[in-house]
């Protein structure tokens, strides 16, 4: 049970595929326009329930409860790309003595 007042994220379908703009590439046409918004939960609920939240600006928005205390999931990449190292090594070699060379 997730308590009223907790900081959560909800999900909603804004437009179903058939409601979307007619001017779309084929791949986008097949999928809905989806939305995620964060806010404070307005009544006790479980994940997956249809709920109402109050956003930080005070708007009331309805959607499916998908996450509690959502955090930010990105950083400097899961895979290090070693090619980057070569750039600096090459450049310093080319520039050599620097300005007054």
């Amino acid at each position: 049970m997730i308590k009223k007042g907790e900081w959560v994220q909800i999900h909603d379908i804004v437009l179903k595929p058939e409601e979307r703009s007619p001017h779309l590439p084929e791949d986008t046409k097949k999928v809905p326009l989806e939305m995620w918004v964060k806010g404070f939960l307005n009544s006790d609920a479980d994940l997956g329930d249809m709920v109402e939240i109050t956003t930080i600006t005070g708007r009331k928005v309805k959607g499916t409860l998908v996450e509690v205390n959502p955090t930010f999931k990105y950083g400097f990449g899961e895979t290090f790309v070693p090619e980057v190292l070569k750039i600096g090594i090459d450049l310093r070699k080319i520039v050599g003595g620097g300005l007054n060379e």
Binding site: P25, T28, L33, V37, T57, G75, F80, D90
Partner: protein
């Protein structure tokens, strides 16, 4: 009474919603045929250079340092013909409160929203502009909503956009995240209608006059440091505001001989509304997917008449490749000790190539940098590309295929600026003017407007209209 919220109904209320949300009656500036009174619109609805300077000084925006990139200049000279290799300078716009030149634009919109009594301010943007609006809103105690195109249908988000979500929320804004699609505009109109907030569009006069100080400062700083105006200023081009505002600022400073060059990342072949292509590009703006369509039809924007009109000011327009921008971004860190971008380094990359065409006593100014960090940095950008199946390798950047590969130049001498035929874009713009206004006859006022709006002579416009079977009298 509740409004019909269907797609067609909301889109049908577009003009009415926008009029309330920006407070400008664009009808006042329309001519009967193709044209409108651009300068009068800018004068009457925007703010003067002096007012903009005052607003920006009060909100910590602008007066950023102009830095000479001596090591990058030295590197460029190694590959330039004898006597060539202009001095490269960069305006370090990352010193603005939220880390990019976009604060200049946001500061005027936020000021205007506050003065006109709006309770909040909104923007539809996935980029630095959202952070700028959120930051300026925080300073002025305005509520703020940012609507982002963020995820593909797998809920995989561009790391740079996820960082912007974080940054906006940390300034106290509400962020609405959407999947790919132009109907973001529909969702945005609903928000404007529901909240009554001010629309901090990038395309109103407010969004453009804020950048005039940037061009003005560049001219003044060059005069102080070098005793002359810059020979060229290079601007990353997407929606056209950056080019327009910078060029107008240079003109207001009297730097009328300075060449204004636009630069975009070449993303040809990728569809901007494609769910699949969305995460196969490493640049969310500053690319040809915006640069070309906004040049050939600026009034595609969210307001009836865009204040951002790039063809009015561009002397030259070049493209560069994603791999080249990544390379120069790393060069900026490794040779100049400046960790910035990468997206903001689009014009720097072009400047590195163009400097090699110019005499070594000439000065080329790159008019922006942007902050970097988690999500934005070259490391997460390349990591994300590789995870999404993009081939990353060293080679000749000419072989790069957007959405398939990122080719890091095997050697810095391979970095090139590729010219876009501006006359072709101008003809295409005139064609769109004729088509979208459904005219068969053009008046003298129309011809004069098109001359100004394409920075062309009368003969060019007459030839173009003639080819479209439009009579002039």
């Amino acid at each position: 009474m509740s409004n019909d919220m269907s797609f067609n109904a909301v889109m049908g209320r577009k003009n009415e919603i926008m009029k309330k949300a920006v407070g400008i009656d664009y009808e006042n500036y329309e001519f009967s045929g193709i044209g409108f009174d651009y300068e009068r619109m800018m004068r009457e609805t925007g703010y003067s250079l002096q007012e903009v300077q005052d607003v920006q000084r009060a909100s910590g925006v602008g007066n950023t340092p102009l830095i000479e990139l001596k090591n990058l200049t030295a590197l460029a000279r190694k590959f330039a013909p004898k006597g060539k290799g202009a001095r490269i300078f960069v305006k370090d716009e990352s010193c603005n409160p939220s880390g990019s030149f976009k604060d200049r634009r946001a500061s005027i919109s936020a000021h205007n929203a506050k003065v006109k009594g709006y309770k909040g301010i909104a923007a539809a943007t996935s980029g630095n502009y959202g952070a700028a609006v959120a930051s300026q809103a925080a300073m002025k105690n305005l509520k703020c909503i940012i609507v982002q195109e963020c995820y593909d249908s797998r809920k995989v988000g561009q790391p740079e956009i996820l960082e912007k979500d974080r940054k906006c929320e940390c300034y106290g804004a509400e962020v609405i995240q959407l999947t790919v699609g132009p109907e973001l505009f529909y969702a945005y109109l609903r928000i404007l209608e529901e909240t009554g907030y001010f629309n901090a569009s990038l395309y109103t006069p407010f969004g453009v006059v804020g950048i005039e100080t940037l061009g003005y400062e560049v001219a003044m700083q060059c005069r102080e440091m070098l005793g002359k105006d810059p020979d060229a200023v290079i601007v990353t081009h997407a929606g056209g505001g950056n080019v327009t505002g910078t060029a107008r600022g240079l003109i207001k400073a009297g730097a009328s001989d300075t060449e204004v060059i636009g630069a975009s990342v070449d993303l040809s072949g990728l569809h901007m509304a494609s769910d699949r292509d969305f995460n196969r590009k490493s640049f969310t703006t500053g690319h040809t997917g915006f640069g070309i369509p906004f040049a050939t039809w600026p009034d595609r924007s969210d307001v009836p008449r865009s204040a951002a009109r790039p063809l009015r000011y561009l002397d030259r327009y070049v493209t560069i490749k994603q791999g080249e921008v990544f390379y120069i971004t790393e060069a900026l860190a490794q040779l100049e000790g400046l960790e910035r971008g990468p997206a903001g380094n689009t014009s720097l990359t072009a400047a590195f190539a163009l400097a090699q065409e110019m005499d070594e006593d000439k000065v080329i100014v790159v008019q922006e940098t942007e902050y970097t960090g988690a999500g934005k940095h070259i490391l997460p950008q390349l990591s994300f590309a590789r995870e999404n199946g993009i081939e990353i390798k060293f080679g000749n950047p000419d072989d790069e295929v957007p959405g398939e590969s990122i080719i890091l130049p095997e050697h810095p001498s391979l970095i090139k600026a590729r010219d876009v035929d501006l006359n072709k874009l101008k003809n295409s713009y005139i064609k769109n003017c004729v088509k979208n206004n459904d005219v068969e006859i053009a008046t003298d006022d129309d011809v004069k407007f098109l001359m100004e709006d394409t920075k062309s002579d009368k003969q060019f416009v007459l030839n173009s209209l003639n080819n479209l079977n439009v009579r002039v009298y």
